[in-house]
Amino acid sequence: MAYDYEKSIRPGKLPHIWCPGCGHGIVMKGLIRAMDTCGLEKNNTAIVSGIGCASRLPGYMDFCTLHTAHGRAAAFATGVKMAKPEMNVIVCGGDGDGTAIGGNHFIHACRRNIDMTYVLLNNHIYGMTGGQFSPCTPTGAKASTTPYGNPDPIFDISKLAIGAGATFVARTTAFHATQIDKLIAEGIKHKGMSVIEVVDDCPTTYGRRNKFRSVVDMMKVLKDTAVPVAAASKMTAEQLEGKILTGVLYQEDKPEYCAQYKQVIARAQG
Amino acid sequence: MAERYEIRFSGAGGQGLITAGIILAEAASIVEGKHAVQSQSYGPEARGGASKSEVIIGDAPIDYPKATVVDACLAMTQEAADKYANGIKSGGMLLLDSDFAPNAPEGDFKVYYLPIMRLAKTEIGREIVANVIALGAMIAMTGVVSREAGEKAVLAKVPEAFVDLNKKAYALGFEKAAELLA
């Protein structure tokens, strides 16, 4: 029997706003399966987002949902989690939202190691505003604000998260649909800040400008550039040129922020 | 118009003069039940620079919280004396540290000198209590609160281990100033 996604979707809120061929729907389905696997209760789970195409995701989901301002999802989510640590907190959003305007909040949520799961949908572009370059647009690529090619270097989101102190960091792509829910579920189960970067496609504002003839071509690139971490360890630097590592990239056990604050309360109360 | 008595403590940042002002305001408003407002101004430095602390004491609620005409002023450094020993009313008083603020500004007020920092070092053995010596002196010279109220407020502010030290410093300042006036 086919998996029932409808039980997690708010009645009457579909169809979604995403374009045909956009990978965000694949990620949302992966998130639904992961939350289901982990048995997250609807009333006790908040899904928090910022602004952008990916940030519309919570509106479709039948949970406590908070669609905040551009870039601020991690900071709002920190308030939710601190005030009610017993709630499960999921954050989702795009690469521009999370690493440009929201970059400071993102790294500090990682540093605190606060127990939330940040699903970052990296489609290399500001899609909702029509395809301006983001900190994750490849150097040389075309965007509506890089008509002569992008002069900027990119952020490696996963490395950024690890460097900032996140204690569970994983990466996959929209092509690897079944890996999405596995990694998100592991992230949810992990006590601390989890970042799951899902490399995604935007056929409308990125693919079209960068000579991808179809969505299938974009998916093929996701498939071909992804290298599982285990396989990568046997590859040379040359072989890894232009590839992205997938799977669990980093994991460690470290004190979680709300648990640490619980000790502050205990000390204050003597 | 309600009567108000205005006292200004000034010196280098970190000398504890804001604390001296707070203790005086506590002596007046908490111990003696008068009305008092304490305020301060200081530069961006955490230590050094010139800082001042003002206390307005009255029998009725204090409206304007800053000094208008100062009844009594303390300056622990020359920089503070130059910057803050002003607006002292005719017939008012100025107490200067004789070693660190030797030059009194011009004005129609009485000027007194006490080697406050030196007293702290030689008589008490701790420079840190210079502010309490200064407070004792200012209370003796102004009579704005009683000697007992001042002492009570000082002792309420300091940790148990430093009670004797501060008691001694307060008494020293009070008595040295009383001698000046005698």
């Binding site: 920190t78 005030a83 309360i265 | 208008t68």
Partner: protein, 380 residues
């Protein structure tokens, strides 16, 4: 039994007032001259099981208090003018998403970094119009340490009752000065808690207004009520809409809930001192009103019939009473530590009914009584 008293700094009084009001979450970022509020909250909140978090910036601090408020907590942030400038977008978010929270603004001069340790009253208009778009604003301006305590409690009450951000504006002078405070006993000051929804979870809509001035109840995340919150224009169910009639209704309701006559009567608070027979009114707020009171007493001693009108609620502005006073007196003198903000609001209201003159100062020094007295003598 004698009341507990202490000599406290205004900022300390603010923090203790917040705890009295039932605040259990503080999200902040250090900034002079408000930092003591955060310091005291970091010490006091965990004692009562509350949470204190120092966020990475002013914007994050504002975000955290909105997020925490949605779980049902009474929340506070404290900052100064530059910090409020940074928070403005999210103050607008709290307005449109109708999320209660209290923002303390210990005012200094400006623009930009200005004079961090000097007093100012430069944010009167920022408190009203700082965030973009049409919205209501509630701001209160206490003038003493005792009043900072009680107005902080009232700010929480107003935030919860009207489901919106409320700003408490006071300047560096009252924020940093120390005065005797009598602590109110529990129950002595009114404390209003958030209204809970009465309908079933299935029927709950977070913006289901019963009238065009209604404040619908806000459920808490993590309860049996499940809902969606967005900064987009939304319908009664909380989901985005671009339907003109719904957008218009919601925009207007969110202003009318504060500005309708019943709400104004509830929110507005003024102090009048010797106004009844006054020929000249000194209209002043915050620490400047203390200089004004001194000036009134001096002027009365000289035989000039002066009075003090002090808005304690700055927004909504006491339009009706100021209009009446404008018809009664020969002149209004308005001292403020800026180059003219509230005076234009008063000008709009009194028009040509009486003379209007300001006393303005932006040099980091307070306006002293002598300046006000001189201006009063000049205009009458």
């Amino acid at each position: 039994m004698a009341k507990k008293v202490a000599l406290l700094q205004g900022n300390t009084a603010c923090a203790l007032g917040a705890v009295y009001a039932g605040c259990t979450f503080f999200g902040g970022y250090p900034i002079t001259p408000s930092t003591e509020v955060a310091e005291v909250m970091s010490e006091e909140l965990p004692k009562v099981g509350g949470k204190f978090i120092q966020m990475e910036d002013e914007i994050a601090a504002m975000a955290s208090v909105i997020g925490a408020s949605l779980t049902g907590a009474k929340t506070l942030t404290a900052t100064s003018g530059p910090g409020v400038s940074l928070k403005q977008e999210l103050i607008g978010y709290a307005c449109i998403a109708e999320t209660p929270c209290v923002i303390i603004n210990v005012m200094r001069g400006g623009p930009s970094t200005g004079m961090p340790t000097g007093p100012g009253q430069s944010d009167v208009m920022q408190a009203r119009w700082g965030t973009h778009g049409d919205h209501a604003a509630i701001a209160v301006a206490p003038a003493s340490c005792q009043e900072i305590f009680s107005e902080t409690v009232r700010a929480f009450n107003l935030a919860e009752k009207y489901r919106m951000p409320v700003q408490v504006l006071y300047d560096e002078i009252v924020g940093h000065m120390r005065e005797r405070i009598e602590f109110p006993e529990p129950g002595e000051l009114e404390v209003i808690d958030r209204a809970a929804p009465t309908c079933s979870p299935e029927d709950y809509k977070p913006y289901d207004a019963k009238s065009d001035t209604d404040v619908p109840p806000l459920a808490a995340f993590g309860s049996e009520y499940r809902f969606h919150v967005t900064g987009l224009n939304k319908a009664a169910d909380g989901f985005p809409t671009t339907k003109a009639s719904l957008v218009d209704f919601e925009e207007r309701r969110q202003i009318a809930k504060v500005e309708c006559p019943e709400a104004r009567a509830d929110i507005e608070s003024n102090e009048e001192y010797l106004c009844d027979d006054a020929d000249v009114i000194i209209l002043a707020y915050g620490s400047t009103s203390r200089s004004a009171r001194y000036a009134v007493n001096e002027l009365r001693a000289e035989g000039i019939k002066a009075g003090l009108f002090r808005p304690i609620t700055l927004w909504p502005f006491p339009e009706k009473r100021v209009a009446e006073l404008g018809k009664q007196v020969k002149a209004i003198v308005l001292p403020e530590m800026n180059l003219g903000q509230m005076i234009f609001e008063v000008e709009r209201i009194v028009k040509n009914d009486c003379k209007l003159a300001g006393v303005h100062r932006v040099d980091g020094e307070p306006i002293n009584p002598g300046q006000i007295i001189d201006q009063v003598k000049e205009v009458i």
